[in-house]
């Protein structure tokens, strides 16, 4: 049978389809076209585009199908272009058949050319051709019933390739403002039933990095900015079903992820998001968040208090009433899981243990992330920073402000480390607990520009461990101990003279490299300081108010006392 690939295409050779191919293709086409009418995805947005008399396959199911072919995205785009759908803007039968033939060619290893389709080819293979439709149909029904999900995905995609900076800013801001409420810009995205869908979707989104789906997600609900893909992307727009269905495909295919059924594993994007959130509460990623701050933060997730209490119990491994970064990530992850309907585990899963998290995501990555995303995240985080700061009454976090700026600007490691450690908050007296082994000598072995955070990072866990070995001690002892730690760090650091000097040379080139960033860093530091000043001024006024009130109370009590005291007047 021959199907002339003219009509819509204009160019392109006549298509030779064998019987089996014809059957397969028509079935697939019917399904795509049928899915279009039955599913949530609309056809081409401009309805007038449809050539009269021909059925068109909606771009959503078509894109799903193409992706099910497990070809790389560039190939798929080439195919889309070649088959002519891009030009005409829709998938007519001819375009569809040509595309399928090209997919078969690509899967056989032939280059994507119009000549390839002239020869005999096997049928194109799709990951889940049978169950596509049902799953797609199943999902929308589920979707509308579900609550809107935590939008960790937009920020994570933001931290990776992103076409538009403004969208990134917008999306990264909105999650940080209300981290567990959905931003209006991405409502239909992530109404997933089970977390594993989201997980595998995340993994696939990082690993495959389809530009087209990025485009689709981007303009959803937002003004269309990019669409550099042109007509290829237009039919794919506003396909929320696309995201859902291809995530389901991902889960079932599972060719991209190594951990199909482990909802307790934190992916890279989630990690980024959690770290950003942590930073919004606590600028120093090597320090910890106090219990009250974390409580306020997690209460926003609208989980019940017993559940939050249990999640805290699971994640605060050393039971000190404060959350370090890995503990915080674990807690956040558990909250996310719970909100997605996962029952809470009996014990902390091994992939959420702090040691595992620290090993899996080495500190150097976090600290580099400081510089990378520092200037970006700081403006976005100023606002929630302030809001959170107002809730805290301790001045220790204010004192933390100068520390990172010093690190950024001066790079004076030891002094910064000292001040940082002295201001490290000992929330509650530490408890005797089994100690984790964190070699303090790591600080010497990894001299970097950001040596201060690394020192703080290693010495603060080490300090915590050392304290844990002692009986519950008062905060004063902790500071004393921290000074000991820093002196210990300094002495071996000084003793390693040659190595240290050689290592110091290393930071210098990096300093020079980041000279351009320093201006930005200085500006952000200035901004930060101004914010800190404003916050401190507000705090001051609040405390003055409280002081006045307390004075008044005192006066009232004294009056009462006077009255009650028996008057002995003789």
């Amino acid at each position: 049978m021959e199907v002339a690939a003219g009509g819509g295409c204009g160019t392109g050779p006549p298509l030779l389809l064998s019987d089996s191919e014809q059957q397969c293709y028509s079935e697939l086409f019917a399904r795509c076209a049928g899915a279009a009418s039955g599913g949530p995805g609309p056809g081409p947005p401009e309805g007038t585009r449809v050539a009269p008399g021909t059925a068109t396959a909606a771009a959503g199911p078509v894109a799903d199908l193409f992706r099910a072919s497990q070809l790389p995205p560039e190939t798929l785009h080439q195919i889309t272009e070649l088959c002519g759908a891009k030009r005409v803007g829709y998938f007519g039968p001819t375009q569809f058949y040509v595309a399928l033939k090209l997919i078969a060619a690509a899967q056989s290893g032939l280059p994507v050319r119009t000549e390839s389709i002239k020869c005999e080819l096997p049928l194109p293979r799709f990951g889940m051709s049978k169950s596509d439709g049902e799953i797609r149909f199943g999902n929308p029904a589920e979707l509308h019933g579900k609550k809107v999900q935590i939008p960790y995905l937009p920020t994570e995609k933001n931290s990776h390739k992103r076409m538009d900076d403004e969208d990134k800013q917008q999306e990264s801001q909105s999650p940080t403002m209300s981290p567990l409420a959905s931003p209006p810009s991405s409502p239909p995205h992530y109404q997933r039933v089970s977390l594993s869908h989201g997980y595998s979707k995340l993994r696939s989104s990082t690993e495959q990095m389809h530009p087209a789906p990025y485009e689709t997600r981007q303009p959803i609900g937002q003004p269309e900015g990019s669409s550099s893909e042109g007509p290829g992307a237009k039919p794919l727009r506003r396909q929320a079903s696309l995201i859902r269905s291809f995530s389901v495909e991902r889960e079932l295919q599972d060719n991209n992820s190594n951990y199909p059924d482990e909802p307790w594993r934190i992916t890279e994007e989630q990690r980024e998001y959690y770290v950003n959130q942590f930073r919004s509460l606590q600028p120093d990623p090597s320090s910890f968040i106090s219990g009250s701050v974390a409580k306020n933060f997690f209460t926003k997730s609208k989980l019940s208090i017993p559940e939050l209490s249990y999640i805290w119990e699971l994640s605060d491994a050393d039971c000190d009433g404060a959350l370090t970064l890995p503990e915080f990530c674990a807690a956040f992850h558990l909250i996310v899981a719970r909100k997605n309907g996962y029952p809470l585990p009996e014990g902390l899963p091994p992939t959420l243990q702090p040691e595992y998290l620290q090993a899996a995501f080495p500190k150097s990555k976090w600290e580099c992330a400081i510089f990378d995303s520092y200037s970006e995240s700081m403006p976005a985080n100023q606002q929630p920073c302030d809001l959170n700061r107002m809730e805290k009454t301790s001045a220790k976090d204010m004192a933390d402000f100068p520390v990172p700026t010093q690190d950024v600007t001066t790079g004076d490691d030891k002094q910064a480390a000292n001040s940082g450690l002295l201001h490290a908050p000992p929330a509650l007296p530490p408890r005797p607990c089994p100690t984790q082994s964190e070699p303090v000598s790591e600080a010497d072995l990894h001299p970097q520009l950001n040596r201060a955070p690394s020192q703080a990072a290693e010495s603060s866990p080490a300090k915590k461990d050392a304290i844990h070995a002692q009986p519950p001690s008062k905060p004063i002892r902790r500071k004393f101990r921290s000074e000991n730690q820093t002196t210990e760090n300094q002495e071996p650091a000084a003793a390693v003279g040659g190595a240290a000097s050689a290592a110091m040379v290393k930071p210098h080139p990096t300093v020079q490299k980041q000279s351009s960033k320093q201006k930005k860093a200085i500006q952000t530091a200035i901004r930060k300081n101004k914010e800190a000043n404003a916050v401190l001024a507000r705090l001051n006024s609040e405390l003055q108010q409280q002081l006045k009130e307390v004075h008044q109370e005192r006066i009232a009590l004294e009056n009462q006392l006077e009255q009650l005291r028996p008057v002995t007047v003789l």
Partner: protein, 139 residues
């Protein structure tokens, strides 16, 4: 080893009480309640001396024919009361002390949880597991 373990708040209401279900639980509740008087007595007796030197472990509060009741009080006047079987003669004082220490540690962990308001009933699973481990050896 213990038959009943109770955590009493400063205002003498129970934060946590659990007994082995073999017998009438009410009896244990009553025993714990009466032991509170003994605890108060011991505290006040020592309280006139330097409070800092008061030991947390109170020792045997009072024995009955079937059971012995031990007490422990923290510096914040939270009391732990433990009822053990009299027939269990293998239990030595040191073991009781260590059990109370474990209880105290678990209680501190519960307090560290910012979602726990002091004065609430203790619902922490870790605490429950720890108490179960202490009680399960009876049966």
């Amino acid at each position: 080893m213990a038959v009943c373990i109770a955590v009493i708040a400063k205002e003498n209401y129970p934060l946590y009480i659990r007994s082995t279900p073999t017998e009438n639980e009410l009896k244990f509740h009553y025993m714990v309640h009466t032991s509170l008087d003994v605890v108060d007595e011991k505290i006040s007796a020592m309280g006139k001396a330097l409070v800092d030197q008061r030991e947390l472990y109170l020792g045997l509060l009072y024995p009955t024919e079937d059971y012995k009741v031990y007490g422990y009080v923290t510096n914040s006047k939270v009391k732990f009361v433990m009822v053990v079987d009299s027939s269990n003669t293998a239990l030595r004082d040191n073991e009781i002390r260590s059990m109370f220490r474990k209880l105290h540690n678990s209680y501190t962990d519960v307090m560290c949880n910012p979602f726990y308001n002091p004065g609430d009933r203790i619902q922490s699973r870790a605490f429950e597991n720890m108490v179960t481990s202490m009680m399960i050896q009876v049966c």
